[in-house]
Symmetry: C2
Subunit: 459 residues, 2 copies
C-alpha cells in the first residue's frame, strides 16, 4: 500500500530529516528585533531552496517586514487543494544565561526517557512546520508526487503579531485560496494523545510609556513634591485586575459570553492534571479569575498580562533617582466576540483616566487580532481525526488554545477558508522560554500524521 511505503520512508530517513531541521534551527530568525532581519531572510531563503528541491514552485516574497515563503506543488493528485501554514520566525532567546546550551545550537538530548530537540524555535514553529515538509518529501520520494495539490505559506512575523500577513493575503488572494488550510502551530493533548484545536484566543499588544518630570531627578533633593513615573505606572497596572482576578477595565468583558455547557463537560472529563501542570512551572494554585476550571481560564477566558516593565535605574547597586519615564508592554488575550480595537481603546482610556497632574502617556500598538471558534462541521475534520487516530491509536481531543494564531482569522475572513489546527507540541515544550524543546516523537509522528492526513484528504 502506497501510504505504508510513505510512512516507512519517513521512518527510514528520520536522521536526515533531523539534520535538515537542525540546519534551520541554527538560523537565529528573531523577528521582534530589527537587527536580526538578515537572519529572517536567510531562513526564508533556506526554506525556498528545500522546497524547490522537493519539486515545489517556491519563492521568497517580499513584504514591508520579513518576507513570506510561498510554494506550490507542481505535480499532485486530484482532490481538494490544501494551504499549509507555518512560521519560520522565533521569539528572542533572552534571558540567555538561563539556557543550558546555546539557543541556536540545536541538540538532541534525553530527558525523562524522552529524546528531545533543544533549541529556540524547536517547537515554535520550525520543528512543527518541518513535519509537513518531511511528509511531502516522503510522498515525492515514494510516489513521485503529492496526493493532493498543496500550497505552502511560511511567514516570518508571527511572533510580532503578523503585520504583513493581511496585506499579503489581500494582494494574493487568488493564488493562495484553497479548499482548506492546515495550520501546524498547536499542541497535542499529551505525548500519547493527538488533538485538533478548535478555539483560539485573540491578542492585543500594547506598550505604554508614562512621562512625569522632564528629566530624571535626585530623589533626595526632589523627593516629596516630584511625581514618580514608576509609581504612576505601577498604580495603573495594579488597578487593571480586581481582587476577584477579573480585568477591571470598563467594557472589557463585552462579547465574552459563557462557555458552551457541552464543551465545558468535555473539558472537565479530560481529567486535566492541574497539580502536575502547575507544578511543572513552579506553581501550586491557579491565579486569575476565581471559580473557573483551569482549562477554561486558559482557553475560553480573556486575560491581561504585563509582559515587560522598565523604568529608572536598573544597573548594579543603587541610584537615588526619581525616574521621569517608565514603560510597560501589556498584552490582552481575547475570546468570543471581543473587539480588539475596543479593548485597545478602553485600555488607553483606563490609563489616561489614572494619570495624575503633570503626567502623560504615550501608546504604541504592537498588533491586534480577534478570537476564533472553528466550526466542528468541516467536511475535512472527520478525515483528519481518523488519520490522527490511525497514527496514535486513540481518538484526537478537540481542544482550545490560549495562544493566538492571527492567520487563522485572516484565512477565515479574507479567504473564506476554514483551518484545521493540528500540531504536535507538548505543554512542557517551554516555547518563548529558555531551553525550548520539541520531542523527537512529536517530530516523527507529526510527519507521519501529515502523510496520513494528506492521503485521507485525497480519498
Amino acid at each position: 500500500m502506497a501510504l505504508d511505503n510513505v510512512l516507512a520512508s519517513i521512518d527510514a530517513n528520520l536522521d536526515r530529516s533531523l539534520e535538515r531541521l537542525f540546519a534551520l534551527l541554527r538560523i537565529p530568525s528573531v523577528s521582534t528585533d530589527p537587527s536580526f532581519a538578515a537572519e529572517c531572510r536567510r531562513a526564508a531563503d533556506w526554506l525556498v531552496t528545500e522546497l524547490g528541491a522537493l519539486g515545489f514552485d517556491a519563492s521568497v516574497r517580499p513584504t514591508r517586514g520579513h518576507p513570506m515563503v510561498v510554494a506550490h506543488s507542481r505535480e499532485a493528485g486530484a482532490g481538494p487543494r490544501v494551504l499549509f501554514y507555518g512560521h519560520y520566525d522565533v521569539q528572542p532567546p533572552v534571558p540567555l544565561e538561563q539556557w543550558k546550551t546555546p539557543p541556536f545550537e540545536p541538540r538532541l538530548v534525553e530527558e525523562n526517557g524522552r529524546k528531545q530537540i533543544v533549541a529556540r524555535g524547536a517547537a515554535d514553529d520550525k520543528g512543527q512546520l518541518m513535519t509537513f515538509v518531511e511528509a511531502c518529501r516522503a510522498f515525492v520520494a515514494v510516489e513521485g508526487k503529492l496526493p493532493v495539490p498543496v500550497t505552502i505559506l511560511f511567514e516570518g512575523e508571527e511572533e510580532t503579531g503578523s503585520p504583513s500577513l493581511k496585506p499579503f493575503l489581500d494582494a494574493n488572494r487568488k493564488e493562495l485560496k484553497a479548499d482548506v488550510a492546515l495550520v501546524c502551530d498547536t499542541d497535542m493533548w499529551d505525548a500519547e494523545t493527538p488533538a485538533v484545536t478548535t478555539m483560539l484566543r485573540g491578542l492585543v499588544l500594547e506598550e505604554v510609556i508614562v512621562q512625569g518630570a522632564s528629566h530624571d531627578l535626585h530623589s533626595g533633593l526632589f523627593g516629596g513634591p516630584a511625581v514618580n513615573a514608576i509609581h504612576v505606572l505601577a498604580r495603573v497596572l495594579a488597578e487593571i485586575h480586581g481582587p476577584d482576578g477579573r480585568v477591571a477595565i470598563p467594557g472589557f468583558y463585552e462579547g465574552v459570553g459563557e462557555l458552551d455547557p457541552e464543551i465545558r463537560a468535555q473539558w472537565t472529563s479530560l481529567k486535566f492534571d492541574e497539580r502536575r501542570f502547575l507544578g511543572d512551572i513552579g506553581l501550586t494554585k491557579p491565579a486569575g479569575e476565581a471559580g473557573r476550571h483551569i482549562l477554561e481560564l486558559m482557553w475560553a477566558r480573556p486575560t491581561c498580562d504585563a509582559n515587560g516593565i522598565i523604568g529608572g535605574y536598573t544597573g548594579e547597586g543603587s541610584k537615588t533617582v526619581i525616574p521621569a519615564r517608565a514603560s510597560a508592554k501589556v498584552s490582552f488575550r481575547l475570546v468570543g466576540d471581543q473587539n480588539p480595537a475596543a479593548v485597545r481603546d478602553n485600555f488607553r482610556a483606563f490609563v489616561r483616566a489614572r494619570l495624575p497632574a503633570d503626567c502623560k502617556a504615550e501608546f504604541i500598538s504592537h498588533g491586534a487580532s480577534p478570537a476564533l471558534r472553528l466550526p466542528l462541521t468541516s467536511p475535512y475534520l472527520a478525515k483528519t481525526r481518523a488519520a490522527l487516530e490511525a497514527e496514535f491509536g486513540r481518538p484526537a481531543v478537540l481542544k482550545g488554545s490560549g495562544g493566538s494564531i492571527p492567520i487563522v482569522g485572516s484565512f477565515k475572513h479574507d479567504l473564506g477558508m476554514d483551518s484545521l489546527l493540528v500540531g504536535f507540541g507538548l505543554d512542557d515544550d517551554r516555547i518563548h522560554s529558555p531551553n525550548e524543546k520539541y520531542d523527537l516523537s512529536s517530530f516523527r509522528k507529526g510527519a507521519r500524521s501529515w502523510a496520513r492526513i494528506l492521503a485521507a484528504l485525497a480519498q
Copy 2:
C-alpha cells in the same frame, strides 16, 4: 591684608584652577558599577598627587571598596583643626543619549548668561571639593601655609551609601578627629545667596525581587492561571502610597515629628518660587503629601520612591511572556528620629504581607543612615556665616536638604564633631541627571568663600 592677597590669587589663577578641575572630571569614577573600580582608584591617586604638591602629607588609603584619600597640612597657623570632607565618586551617567556632550568630557558653556561647567560630577561633588583645594592652594601660594591646621578626607563611595566610611572612621578615629568638620556637598539658596544647611534627611536603600513561576511563560498558553511577577510587584508599589500621598507602611511615621514653628516661619518667609522650581523640572503641581509647604516636603518630610524597576521583556517590539521575576530599587528618605532599621524591616514585612500564593520576595540592602539636625549653637557657625556674608554681600540662609550625607552622622556619632555644611551648588545643577553642571561663579566664589572661612576660623 593677607586675605585680600589670597582672594586676588584665586581670581588671578582661575583658568588654571579650571584646568585642574577638568582633569579630575575626565576620570569616570562611577562608584556604583564595579567595572569602574580602576577609575575610582585613578581619581584618588590624582587627588593625592595634587594635595602632595600643595604641601599636604597625602595618601590613598585602601578600604574594602573604593579607597579614601587622607591629607594633613604640614604647616599651618594655630587655631582649631578642621576636617574637610568631599567625595570623588560620581553617579552613573545613564541615560547617555540624553547628554548634549559626553559626560566625562567637561566643557565650559554659556547658558542664560551664566558660564557653566558641564560634566558628570561637575557639581556632585568634584567641583565642590575643588573649591576647597583651590582655596588651600591660594593660601599656600601667598602665605606659605594654611591659617588653621587642615585634614582632608575624600571618599569614593558616597553615591553607594558609603559602606566603608564608618569602619574607616572607627579605625582612624584619632587621626581624623578635629574641632569641626567642613562638608561641601550642598547647595546655595540661590545664585546670589549663600546658605548653611542644618537639616539632612536620612536614607534607606532597598532592592526587592519578586519571583513567581519557575521560568518565564508564554502568555497565551499560560495566561490566566499563571501568576505574573510584574503584577505582584506593581500592586506592592502601588499600595505603598495612600491617596493622601502618605506612605502607608505601618509604623513608617514613627519618630517623624512636626516641624519647629520658627523654622516653618523662616522657610515660608523665603518666598520660595514653587512655580519656577517645578517648572524647571517640567512639573506644575507638587506631588506627595497634601497640605504641606514644598520646602517642608523636601527638607522635613520622609518619602518613599521607586528608583528603578525591571521585569519581563524590555527589548524592541513585543514578547508575549509572563515574567517569572520582577525587581525594583526602592529608597526611603528619613527625617527626625526615624529608625533606618525599623523602616527597612517594616518595608520588607509590608511586601511579604502582599505576596500571593506561589510568590516569594528577596531583599537586598544597599545602605541605611538616619536623618540629622545640626545644632545652631556651634561656635564656628557664626564665623562661617560672617565669612559668607562678606563674600556674597547678603546673609546666609539656614536651610534643610532633602539629600543624605551619611558622613555627617558618622562625624557626629563616631567622632563627636559638628559639621558645617557649606556648598555652592544650585538647584538647577541637574545632579544625578544628564547634563549635570556647576556654575563657574559657584566655583570661583566657592573657593573665595573657603579662603574667608579658613581665615575667620583662625581668628
